[in-house]
Each structure stands twice: as C-alpha cells, then as structure tokens.
Amino acid sequence: MLTVDALDVFIQASHILRSVSLDVGPREVVCLVGRNGAGKTTTLRTIMGYLRPHAGRVEFRGQPIHGRRTHEIAQLGVGWAPEDSGIFADLTVAENIEIATWTRSGGRPAAERIALAYRVFPMLRRYAARKGPELSGGERKMLSIARALALDPEMLLLDEPFEGLSPAIIPAVSAGIAAITELGHSILIAESNIHHVPESTRRLYVIERGTIVFAGAAQDAWRDPSLTRIIGSAA
C-alpha cells in the first residue's frame, strides 16, 4: 500500500531524516515509535507532501507520490490526522467532518461516509453543532481522525493520536482506532509511548535521531534491551 524508501529529509540546513524506509501493507496497522524529536512527524509530513525529500522515494499503491502536492496525495486516498488535530476552529464538528466529503468526491456517497465517521466515534454525534474551541483535547483528536476517515481514504496517517489525552478518554480513542482497523484501512501511527501501541499492530518501526533502528514484530521490540531504553519497557 505505502512504501517509503531511503528518505533523506532536510529542514533548512539540518539533516532530519537519514535513509528512512518503511512499508505498510493492505489492511495493516503499523506503528512508528520514537522519542520526542526522533523524526516521526517529519516522516509523516514528508509522506503527506508538506516536505520534499532530498533523496528517496514514497510510493502509494504503486505510484510514486513524493513530489506530488499535498492535495493530490489526499485525493489519491491518504487521510491525515496531525499531532495538533488541525480542527477548523470556525467550523462546527459536523462541518469539519462534512468538508472531507466535498473536497474528495467519488467512491462511497457522502452520507455513508459521514455516518461511518460517527459510527466509529459515536461521542462526536452529541457535539455535532459545537465549534472547535469548545472541544476537549480528546474530542479534537477523535474529530481529526473521524474527518480523515470521512475522506474515504485507503490509508490513514495518525500522528500521536493519544498524545496529551486524559486516561479517561484514551479508551474511546483506542476503540475508534480499533473499529477503523476492522474496516480494513491501512494505518500508519506515529507514537512516542509504547504503551499506546494498539494491540492490532503487527509490525513496529523504531526511529531514533532520524534513523530507523528497528523494524519487526512488536514482541521482538520489547525483548530487545537496547530498544526498551529508547521506547520504554512493556512491563
């Protein structure tokens, strides 16, 4: 579904990503784990076309997408829920979800896509008429993911969906992500806390200072002592 091959990314003069490679198969949930500043967001933003790689390739469903503009990548079917949620403050919850059906038509009918977004995060239905600033951090995260889902994408990129959330709301977000997994989307999740990695994650990449230091099954990562120092231990 998504193949990232030997990406080198510079931001101004700093070399942020060094030969980052990863891939996400159809219907697969993959986590990119790393500490603060490791390069997770930079990787996802490069996939989304906000940053141009200095070298390397990004392919989505067999087509190269590095060098494409962000809206084209979205139109191809990549949904993006950023770290800060990116909720449109001036739009209601309902409009935030609906907008994704206007900007990318085709595929399933709009009503179905909207209904699906609410089914995955039922809590949002109650707030449909509220605007961005009236939502809690957790509600914003859910809305951001629901909106990406309403785009009807094949693949979702979620940047730290659990960051800064109160323990009370984490189960609701987890349940939503689990529901999306069931729907058969490919998902790439960036995460700094290993405890938030969803159970459905089969494969894990660990990134450290812009380099992938581990790629493999989640259980193997927890057994590797040099990695538990980076990502925390499972216990």
Binding site: T70, F88, W102, R147
Partner: protein, 295 residues
Amino acid sequence: MTAHVVNLVVSGVFHASILFLVSAGLQVVFGVQKIFNLACGSFYALGAYVGVSAVAWYAEAGGPPALFILPLAIAGVAAGALGVVVERGLLRFVYDRDETFQLLLTFAVVLMMEDAIRMTWGTSPRSTAGLYLTYGGVHVLGTTVPVYNLIVIGASLAIAVLIGWLLTHTAFGCIIRASADNREMAEALGVDMRRLYAKVFTLGTALGTLGGALVIPATAAMSEMGIELIVEAFAVVVIGGLGSMRGAFVGALIVGVLRSIAISVYPELEMLLIYLIVIAVLVLRPRGLFGGAPA
C-alpha cells in the same frame, strides 16, 4: 433640519454600501490568502472606468436608459476577471515571501494600474452624465432622495446577505472558512490551494470592480480615486477587524456615515475624524470590533 439629517444619512449609507463592497473583497482575500491587497483600490477605479465605458457604449447602441444599471453592473462584475491575471501572473510568486514584500507588490500594482487607466481613458474625469437622475427621486421628510442611491444600497445589502449565506451555507464557503483557518490542513483534505486562491482573489476583485462601477453614476471617474478609496477601506478593516465580513459591514457603515457628517460639517477634517476613530479602535480594541471573529 430633518431634511439635512436625511440627506446626510442617505449619502453616508450610499458611500458605506460602496465601501462595503470593496472592503469585503479586501477581507475575503486577506482571510484566505493572508495578503493585504492594496490593489483593491485600483480594482475599484478600474470598475468605475469600465462602467463609464459600458454605459456610454450602451447609450450609443440605443439601449433604454432605464435599464442602464444592468450593463453597468455586468461590466463591473466582468472587470473582476482581471483578478485571475493579477493573482496567477504576480501574487502567486510572493505567497512565501515576507508580508512587507507582498504589500509593496500590491502597491506596485496600484501605481501601474493608475498609469494604465490614464493611458486608456485619459487624464480628465469621466462621468455618465445625466444617468444618475434617470430613476428620479423620492420625497422623504422634506427632501428628495435619489432613487439610484437607494438601489445601490439595496444591492449592496443583498450582496452582504449573499456573501454571508455563501460563507455559512455552501460547500465553497465552508472550504473558504477552513482554508482561512488552517491552510495546511485544508490541503490535506484535498483542497487545491492554487485554484482556491485564484477563485477567492477573483471574487475579491469582482467585489471591488462592482463597487467602482456602481458608484460612477453618482460621481466622476478619476485616476486617483483608487488611492482615496484604499485609505478609507483601510480604516474600515481596522475598525471592523481584519478578515471579518461582519467587520467590513459595520466598519463601512461607521466610516461612510462619519465621512458624510464630516464633509457637511468640517470638510477639511474628513480624514482626520475617520482616523481619530481608527486610532481609538487601535488603542482600545487592537483587533477591531470583530477581529478574530469568523470570516
């Protein structure tokens, strides 16, 4: 006395209607593209000249005088097509540049257009002699109010309602509000910013050119009229709040009526009075009356 007040209010609100159109164009462009477009004044002047020519052509072709407002309005809106040229040809190269640089570029457009207008239409004022009174006047509280003014006030109100509806009840409006708030996120949802910018800038330009066309039966077109209007539109958006449509509406009313009062009482102090209010707003409510409010 009442007759005097009625005259003041009508001419003030008439001017406010025109100011609103131009300022609304300025606001929608600023809201989405984050560019303070000084050239909105030039678009206004262009609309005025194109309007004069359209009406002259219409009269020559023998069109019924009572319908002159149609070719005038159509020409005003059509002149908005220049917006695409300016946006695609110039502005798009400076979106990533410093704001100062963008401001200088739009000012360059003002100066270039002033010359282009002089070259095309000459330096002497042009007017649509006589047409203003085609629609006659109505007697209100002891004075005669030109019907044309009332038509323009009504049209401007209708446009204000239409813009409000467009922004709040249509997909295009929703995309505009979303992009004004978070451009990167809108792109990640599939919004082609290049196309949106071209559309928004053209809409903003057409509002300015329409304003210029509609004002012209009541006054003469002069090449400096653009700069004069920028100064007033600037006051409107500072008072109303940058980027806010409601701000443009209320700001235009305040500036329009104030100007009309000042002109009748102390013509020398017209700008001074308006800018005293601007300074008061800047000091007391730096973001304007509706600053930070929705587009």
